[in-house]
Symmetry: C2
Subunit: 121 residues, 2 copies
């Protein structure tokens, strides 16, 4: 039986909206999610988990209260649990991120950018 | 304070050996590891955890007792816990994989390809 790989570009082609995470894989109780982002997200933190960002295409930055990190294709960063952060991308950027199942994208902040959980693509 | 991203190509430039996983990031109790692979690995399984393979450059396949999956750059696959598998790459392939801290690369199989754990690059 030949199994089908998860092709990231094929997955990205299936949605256009920004800041709307789509699950592509699960490993134990963790999920791998894709998103297209553009503009500023909201300041938020996740009290119970670290969060990994991997840039698949484009460039983004993550602002912290005391600085920032700039990320381009082929770069990743781990935001530690409890640390306030605000993702930003001037132009559309394709990212993958990894976090436990059930994590809400806006963390403690809520608001209109809060996405439905566990949406697969 | 400007934080430094984890640049995968810079990390790959720091080692040449095959089948020797290098940790580049930790998220909670999980590790993101890079490896360069070429040739056949050993049949093995991990009784307690799924294992994620992401191809960063090149091509690889993972053989299963009942089939296989072919993976190229930009593709990923989750090997479920307990499932015997044997990674293979004809030409050198750069992969990232994700699994809990403490997982041994050869799983239940052991042998000469067993790598030292928790080696960072």
């Amino acid at each position: 039986m030949t199994r089908k790989p998860i092709n990231l570009n094929e997955k990205y082609a299936k949605f256009t909206e920004h800041w709307s995470p789509k699950v592509v894989a699960e490993m134990n109780d963790y999920q791998f999610k894709l998103a297209k982002i553009q503009g500023s997200f909201v300041w938020h933190s996740h009290a119970d988990t670290d969060e990994v960002f991997i840039v698949i295409e484009g460039q983004m930055s993550i602002d912290f209260r005391d600085g920032k990190v700039d990320l381009k294709e082929g770069e990743m960063f781990v935001v530690p649990k409890g640390v306030e952060h605000k993702p930003f991308a001037e132009d559309e950027c394709k990212i993958m991120f990894v976090e436990p199942r059930g994590v809400v994208n806006t963390g403690d902040a809520g608001g209109e950018l809060t996405a439905e959980e566990d949406v697969w693509v």
